[in-house]
């Protein structure tokens, strides 16, 4: 009797154990990510990353970046051709795609999405400020429908980086019927073609998205995606520890060592599309020009004199890596054969002597008044550089202004040396090498090229790369530019800021994009633990 009882008990236990293992009807998966709040949810009318993060998952453009890379691949357009003069781009659209509200995706939707930004007479133009259109897309003359699944975009001048700009959130395609329904309130009710559709946005609290059941691409692995607003980075970390959220962005640098040691968490980190640098003013026509900087040996000496590794490791607190080239290593076209100047004060002194400054010289070093990811603590960085330069006899006085004045004055070339940086919006070396180092950008008073570096070969190569649409050719041209810039040394490239995300250990499949885009359709997580 007793024995039967024991056997019965064991059986019951065994069965219940098995039942525990068996996947009972698939549980819906909710994934919560902690970040700051969105500002608006119209892809063409925002300038901030927090809004873009949400919209990356709702909207799509004609092209997109390949997973984790900066190379462009087809998305809502399956292919495209360029006219021989590079002015007309024809996009062939993906068929049988529907917006999340059921509206068919077609040429009309594309024309609507772009023309409302460009055409001041468009009935929907009044509902936005369209800042990015002015910054990045002024070369688009018009967008026209050829037939239901073909769109023609005409540029005012040939511009190869155009394809990279097309992968930006600004060029996401929106549902025209939905815009029409909500008018000026549309920004709070987004509808696109992406893997997740919008459910609700409680301002300051959370944004909820759910899986788009009719998505044309690979089905997302999570059913509900929630972006919870937690502004304070330390509070985000606490919520992650507790398991209230499964992922977070921008951890507090002071929390980083603790986070890295936590075995229940995964840290993902990679350089973004940015660079922080020190520019030496070579413009003889600028008010701030000083004679020593015309000599390449002096500029190289300064590159040798600065202990970049120490500055990055000690002053950026693990949020950046040392820079070599003007473009970050995560961007296509990066020249990895360029050898960075080593830290070598003796060599620096020797070069200065050759250049005729054995005892150094007096100069100034401008430091930004604000902290940016690529320039974590400009004042401290300037002080460290000042000390390094002192070692080789160069006496640099630190100068600073408020941010607006700083930009205006450096664009007018009032400095000898200045700290500055750049965050690119779209992944193309043109957005660094042309904007920051071409002679076209070195106009006194409105210079993006604050080194006033004017090299004719660099200009020719940059221009050629803007005209050709052959990717391999462009890569080759940009590699040449980087080598020349390195040899001419108008800059000391300082740091590439990294983007850091933290996830619970059981979260899989998140891919970091150098552009800082977050796509959650590939993310899965194991809820059984």
């Amino acid at each position: 009797m007793k024995r039967t009882l024991v056997i019965a008990l064991v059986l019951v236990l065994g069965v219940s154990l098995l039942a525990g293992c068996k996947p009972v009807a698939k549980q819906p998966v909710t994934f919560v990510f902690a970040k700051g709040d969105a500002v608006e949810l119209d892809p063409a009318d925002v300038t901030d990353g927090e809004s873009v993060t949400v919209m990356n998952n709702i909207f799509e453009g004609l092209v997109r970046y390949k997973s984790g890379s900066t190379e462009v691949e087809p998305c809502l357009a399956t292919s495209w051709d360029t006219s021989s003069d590079g002015l007309v781009w024809t996009f062939h659209l993906r068929k049988n795609v529907k917006f999340q509200d059921g509206t068919p995706f077609n040429a009309d939707a594309v024309v609507f999405s772009y023309e409302r930004q460009r055409d001041t007479n468009h009935p929907f133009h009044q509902y936005g400020k369209w800042e990015y259109w002015g910054w990045c897309f002024s070369e688009i003359a018009k967008t026209e429908k050829v037939d239901d699944s073909t769109v023609k975009i005409t540029l005012s001048q040939p511009f190869a980086p155009f394809l990279s700009t097309m992968a930006m959130f600004t060029m996401d395609v929106v549902s025209p019927t939905n815009c029409d329904k909500w008018k000026d309130q549309w920004f709070a009710h987004p509808v696109g073609t992406g893997p997740f559709s919008f459910v609700e946005w409680v301002k300051g609290d959370h944004v909820t998205l759910e899986k788009n059941a009719n998505y044309w691409g690979t089905e997302p692995k999570i059913d509900t995606l929630i972006f919870r607003v937690i502004d304070d980075p330390s509070s985000r970390y606490l919520a992650l520890q507790k398991g209230e959220v499964q992922g977070m962005e921008f951890p507090n640098p002071t929390d980083l060592p603790k986070i890295t040691q936590d075995s229940t968490l995964t840290v993902l980190s990679a350089p973004g599309l940015n660079v922080g640098y020190l520019a030496m003013n070579m413009g003889t026509d600028t008010p701030g020009f000083q004679k020593p900087f015309a000599d390449v040996r002096v500029r190289q000496a300064i590159n040798y004199a600065i202990n970049k590794k120490d500055i990055v490791s000690q002053l950026y607190k693990g949020t950046a890596i040392p820079a070599v080239n003007p473009i970050p290593p995560t961007l296509w076209g990066y020249n990895d054969t360029v050898q960075d100047y080593s830290y070598d004060p003796a060599k620096a002194k020797e070069l200065l002597k050759e250049a005729g400054y054995p005892n150094g010289f007096k100069t100034n070093l401008w430091a930004m008044p604000v902290s940016r990811p690529y320039m974590f603590d400009p004042k401290a960085i300037a002080t460290a550089i000042q000390a390094d330069l002192k070692q080789v006899g160069i006496d640099a006085e630190i100068v600073t202004y408020d941010w607006g004045t700083y930009l205006t004055k450096t664009e007018a070339g009032e400095q000898a040396m200045c700290l500055l940086g750049w965050t690119a919006d779209y992944a193309d070396p043109d957005d660094f090498l042309y904007v920051l180092l071409d002679s076209d950008a070195a106009t006194v008073g409105s210079a993006g090229n604050v080194a006033f570096y004017r090299n004719a070969t660099v200009h020719t190569l940059n221009k050629e790369a803007q005209m050709t649409t052959d990717l391999n050719k462009r890569i080759d041209l940009y590699k040449q530019v980087q080598q020349i810039v390195h040899d001419d040394a108008p800059w000391v490239p300082l740091a590439y800021a990294t983007q850091t995300l933290v996830f619970a250990k059981n979260v899989k499949g998140f891919v970091l994009y150098p552009t800082g885009d977050y796509h959650f359709d590939t993310v899965s997580f194991d809820t059984s633990k």
Partner: protein
């Protein structure tokens, strides 16, 4: 009484006007400007100038102020530079969040504070008296962000009892009627959501309420001690009244005025949105709104929010003043 209220109301208007001038100048004196915050690295001198013109920031300060004042008087606080939305609409959306937290924190602070104060006063120099006054001293002097983090670490993570922040768990959603989640969930008969909203209120209320609680406890104690030594208390005792009746009916009633003042002032302060508590607990109230607006140098939003808060604080103190001139007719502010 009417005359008194009118006089106080004019006083309030004057204060709000003064605040508006101060905040208008202060936010413009702070380094950085909205054009640069928006344009970031795109900022070329031309772009910046165009943006400033669009927002009217290129006009002389005095003109800017009167343009703003003219609109504000009509209830139009302008459009936020950051979100392109009406500032007033955004403030009205966020105010109930702050209100709910303040009411909860103040209720907690007043009940515990008054009770501790009474017991301390009645059992003067007892162990409880010393202990509660030391705790109160600790409470007044403790930095609130530190207390908040400690509370989260203990109750949120170690004991795993309460959420670390937010207003409601992700599995619940409430259709806002009053935007006070406790009330809304009850109106919809959604008890699990009610309990969850309550859980989310506890830690921020503790963090936010500790300072007012300590303050109220100390005021209650000293006010009670003051009253307890009055002749009429001795009379009450000598005519044979029970100790309970003496304390509650005779002593507490007379000690109430300073307590009311203290609680009223503290409550008015909380209504302005607790910047630190709201930030740490991700509470989407006025405090976090102001932080966001200031860091973006969103001038219209900062001005609107500060005026809004000034109005609320002034109104609450006005109500408290009127209320206790009613409780104690001897009091009239000159």
């Amino acid at each position: 009484m009417k005359y008194y209220v009118a006089k106080r109301a004019i006083n309030v208007l004057f204060i709000v006007f003064a605040v508006s001038v101060i905040i208008f100048l202060l936010i413009r004196l702070a380094p950085g400007d909205p054009a640069i915050t928006m344009a970031g690295e795109h900022a070329s001198a031309v772009t910046l100038a165009r943006m400033r013109t669009e927002w009217g920031l290129n006009k002389p300060l005095i003109v800017q102020y009167f343009v703003w004042l003219r609109h504000a008087l009509r209830g139009d606080f302008g459009q936020s530079i950051l979100t392109h939305q009406s500032v007033l609409v955004e403030l009205v959306q966020r105010f109930p969040n702050t209100l709910e937290l303040s009411i909860f924190a103040m209720t907690f602070a007043t009940i515990i504070g008054v009770l501790a104060g009474i017991v301390s006063a009645v059992r003067r120099y007892s162990f409880f008296d010393y202990a509660s006054m030391i705790v109160a001293l600790f409470g007044v002097s403790m930095p609130v962000f530190w207390l908040a983090i400690i509370l989260i670490m203990i109750f949120g993570i170690r004991l795993n009892l309460l959420p670390t922040g937010g207003r409601l768990g992700v599995m619940y959603s409430i259709t806002p009627i009053t935007h006070l989640y406790l009330l809304d969930s009850l109106l919809e008969f959604r008890f699990p959501a009610f309990l969850d909203a309550l859980k989310h209120l506890i830690l921020p209320s503790l963090a936010l309420g500790t300072i007012p609680m300590a303050f109220v406890a100390r005021i209650t104690r000293s006010s009670m001690l003051d009253v307890m030594s009055q002749d009429y208390i001795r009379t009450a005792r000598s005519k044979g009244l029970g100790e309970k009746a003496v304390i509650i009916k005779h002593a507490l009633r007379n000690a109430l005025i300073p307590i009311l003042t203290a609680a009223g002032t503290e409550f008015a302060g909380l209504m302005g949105g607790a910047v630190l508590t709201e930030t740490i607990f991700s509470w989407p109230g006025l405090g976090t709104y102001i932080v966001q607006a200031v860091s973006a140098r969103d001038y219209p939003a900062v001005q609107g929010a500060v005026i809004f808060v000034a109005l609320i604080v002034a109104l609450v103190s006005l109500i408290v003043d009127i209320f206790y001139s009613y409780v104690d007719p001897r009091i009239r502010y000159e």
